[in-house]
Amino acid sequence: MTFDSTVLILVTVIGAATPLLFAALGELVVERSGVLNLGIEGMMLVGAVTAFAVTVATASAALGILAAAIAGALMALAFGVLTLSLTANQVATGLALTIFGIGLSALVGSGFVGIPVERLPRLQIPGLSDLPVLGPLLFNHDALVYLSVLATVGVAWFLVRTRPGMILRAVGESDVSAHSIGYDVILVRYLAVLFGGVMAGLGGAFLSLSYTPMWAEEMTAGRGWIALALVVFSSWRPGRLFLGAYLFGGVTILQLYAQGSGGGFLGLPAQVLSMMPYLATIVVLAVIAGGPWKGRLDAPACLGKPFRPAT
C-alpha cells in the first residue's frame, strides 16, 4: 500500500468518525447533567434531512447546517418537555423520539431521494494545507470536521474548568443537593438536552452534506446508538470519547476497504464485514464492563432518574 493511499484512508476515517463525535459529545453533556436521551438516532436523522432539504432549497450549505442544528434542538426540546417538565420515563421517551424521527425524516425526505447536493467545500488553510502528508491529512477538511474537534476541546474545558460546567456536573451527580443550594436543576438539564440536540443535528448534517452527500431513509444506520455506546466507552470523558469515535471510524472504514478489495476479504461475504462496527460495539461494551477498571466507570449518579422539585 502506497503512502498516499494510506493518507487517503486516514482521511476517510476522519469522515466516518466526525458524525459519531458530534452526536456522542452532545450526549456526553446530556448524560453528565443526569439525563439519558436515547433519541440520538432520531435527532440525527431529522438533522440530516433538514440540512439536505434546506441546502437544496436555498443553495446555501451554511443555512442547511444552521437549520439542522435548530431541527435537532427542536426534537430535543420535545424530549425535554416530556421527560423534564412532565417527568415521563426517559427510556421510553427516547425510544419514541427515535421512532418519530425515523418517520418524520422519511416523510420530509421522500421528495429528496436521488437528488444530488454539492459536497461541503474543503477549507484550505494557507501554508498548512500545502504541507506534505500533514496537509492533506489534517488541514484539508470541511468546516464541520474542524468544528467537531473544537467542540471536543470546548466541552472538555467547559466541564472541568468553568463554573457552569461544574454546576452541570453537580446536577448530574446529585440533583437534590444541587437544588437545595439553589441551582435550577430543570433549567440546567433543559440546556444540556438542547445542546445534545444541536450536536446530534450537526452530526446528521455532516452525514447528508459531507460523508455521503445525499439523502436516504435511515441513512444514519445505527450511528446514534453507536454514539450512545461511545459515551459509555469514554466513561463520560471528552478526551476518551474523541479516541473512541476515531477508533470506531477506523473500524467502519476498515470493513469498507475490506469489502472493496475485490472478491471479499479472507473469503468473507460483504455482510459479515458490515457486521463489524456493530459487533465491535458489543465487544467494546463487554470489555469495558468486565475489565479491571470496572469500578472506575463513573456514570453520573443521577443518570436517567426523573427529578421534580417539591413545591
Binding site: 436515547l38 432520531g42 420535545a78 418537555v81 416530556l82 412532565l86 417527568t87 415521563a88 420515563n89 427510556v91 421510553a92 421517551t93 425510544l95 419514541a96 423520539l97 421512532i99 418519530f100 424521527g101 425515523i102 418517520g103 418524520l104 422519511a106 416523510l107 421522500s110 431513509e217 444506520a221 445505527g222 446508538w225 453507536i226 450512545l228 455506546a229 459509555v232 461475504p269 455482510q271 459479515v272 458490515s274 457486521m275 456493530y278 459487533l279 460495539t281 458489543i282 461494551l285 463487554a286 464492563a289 468486565g290 421534580r308 413545591t311
Partner: protein, 360 residues
C-alpha cells in the same frame, strides 16, 4: 387565580386507562393538521387511514394478520419493561427466529409430514431465545446495558439474513432474486379463514396474551417480575433473584419474537426474504406502552397499531400519502401517551392567589 401542579398521593387508576384513548384522539387531531399542511384533504385522508380498512372482511382479516406479531412481541416486551429489562432488539430476535425456523423448512423442502411445522415453530422459539440470551448473558454477568447490545444485534441479524438469502439459501430457480425457495405445503401455516391470509398465528397470539395475563396476575413469577421492576431493594430483601428475572424476561420476549418471526415467514410471506417486516419489533415497543404493559391492553393496542400499518398502505393507494406517515403517527402516539401520563401522576388545580397579592 393561578394553576398549581400537585403530585397525586397515588396513581389514578381510572385515568391510567383513559389516557391511552386521549393519546389516540390527540394523534388523530395532529394527523388532521399534518394532512392539511401537506395539502391533502384531511377528512378523506383520515377516513382512508382509520375507517375504510375496517369496512371489509378482507380488511379486518388483514388487521388480525398484522396485529398477531405485534401482540405476541408486545406481550413479551411488556413483561420485561415491568421488570426494568429493556429488550429493544425484538426485531433481531424475530429475524433469527425466522432464520432458524425457515432453515428447517428449507432443509426438509418438498417433504411432507405433520411434524415439519411444529419443528419449525420450536426452532423459531429457540432461535429467538438464543439470540436474546446474548444480551441476557452480558447483562447478568458483566452488567452491560441490554438496550445497546440488543439493538446492535438487530443490525447483525438483518445482515445475517441478507447474507443467507443472497448466498447459500438463494432460490436456485429464482432468477437470481435475493429470496429463498417458496416453502412447501407442510411448512406453511394453515389459513383459518378461507379467502384471506388469516393464519393460525392470530389465534396463537390471543392465547399468548391471555396466558401472559394469567402468569402476571396469578403466579409468584409474575409478582416477582413486578416487584423487581418497581422496588428492586424490596425484591432483593425478599430474596427474589434479579438475575433470574432478567434471564426470564429476555428469554420469554426473545422466544415470542422468534415465534412471531417464524409465523411471518411461514404465514403471509411463505419464504425467506431480506426484509421480513415493516419494523414490527420496534412498533411492538409502542404497542406494549400503549397497552399499559397489560397483556389484555396489548391486544387492543396491537390491533390499533396494525390499523396504522393498513391505514398507511390504504391511504397511499387511495390519496397518495407517503408510506412514512405511518411512522410519524406511531411516534406521535407514543409521545402523546407519555405526555398524558403526567395526568395520572399529577393533578392540576386552580389556587386562589388573591389574598397573597392584597396589600398588607
Amino acid at each position: 387565580m393561578s394553576l398549581r401542579i400537585e403530585a397525586r398521593p397515588e396513581i389514578d387508576r381510572r385515568l391510567l386507562y383513559v389516557t391511552p384513548l386521549l393519546a389516540v384522539a390527540l394523534t388523530v387531531l395532529a394527523g388532521f393538521f399534518i394532512f392539511l399542511l401537506m395539502g391533502y384533504n384531511p377528512f378523506a385522508a383520515l377516513y382512508h387511514f382509520f375507517v375504510s380498512p375496517l369496512t371489509s372482511l378482507y380488511g379486518l382479516s388483514e388487521l388480525a394478520v398484522k396485529a398477531a406479531p405485534l401482540i405476541m412481541i408486545g406481550v413479551g416486551l411488556a413483561m420485561g419493561f415491568r421488570a426494568n429489562v429493556w429488550n429493544i432488539g425484538a426485531e433481531g430476535q424475530l429475524t433469527v427466529g425466522a432464520i432458524a425456523g425457515g432453515g428447517i423448512a428449507l432443509a426438509f423442502w418438498g417433504q411432507e409430514g405433520a411434524w415439519i411445522l411444529p419443528l419449525m415453530c420450536l426452532a423459531g422459539i429457540l432461535g429467538g431465545m438464543a439470540y436474546a440470551a446474548i444480551p441476557a448473558f452480558l447483562k447478568t454477568r458483566l452488567d452491560v446495558n441490554e438496550i445497546l447490545t440488543s439493538l446492535m444485534l438487530t443490525y447483525v441479524a438483518t445482515l445475517l439474513l441478507s447474507m443467507l438469502v443472497y448466498g447459500p439459501w438463494r432460490d436456485p430457480d429464482g432468477f437470481g432474486f435475493p429470496q429463498s425457495r417458496l416453502f412447501t405445503d407442510s411448512a406453511l401455516l394453515p389459513v383459518i379463514l378461507e379467502g384471506t391470509r388469516l393464519h393460525l398465528g392470530a389465534a396463537v397470539a390471543l392465547f399468548v396474551a391471555v396466558a401472559a395475563w394469567v402468569v402476571m396476575t396469578r403466579t409468584v413469577i409474575g409478582f416477582q417480575i413486578k416487584v423487581v421492576g418497581q422496588a428492586p431493594a424490596a425484591a432483593a430483601y425478599a430474596g427474589f433473584h434479579r438475575k433470574r428475572v432478567i434471564w426470564l424476561c429476555l428469554l420469554t420476549s426473545g422466544g415470542l419474537a422468534g415465534l412471531a418471526g417464524l409465523f411471518e415467514t411461514a404465514g403471509p410471506i411463505g419464504q425467506l426474504i431480506p426484509v421480513l417486516t415493516p419494523g414490527y419489533g420496534f412498533t411492538a415497543i409502542i404497542v406494549a406502552f400503549l397497552g399499559r404493559l397489560h397483556p389484555l391492553g396489548i391486544i387492543a393496542s396491537g390491533i390499533l397499531m396494525a390499523l396504522s400499518y393498513i391505514g398507511g398502505e390504504n391511504a397511499q393507494v387511495e390519496v397518495g400519502l407517503p408510506q412514512a406517515v405511518t411512522g410519524v403517527f406511531q411516534g406521535l402516539l407514543l409521545f402523546f401517551l407519555l405526555a398524558t401520563d403526567f395526568l395520572t401522576k399529577y393533578r392540576v388545580r386552580y389556587v386562589s392567589t388573591r389574598r397573597e397579592v392584597a396589600p398588607a
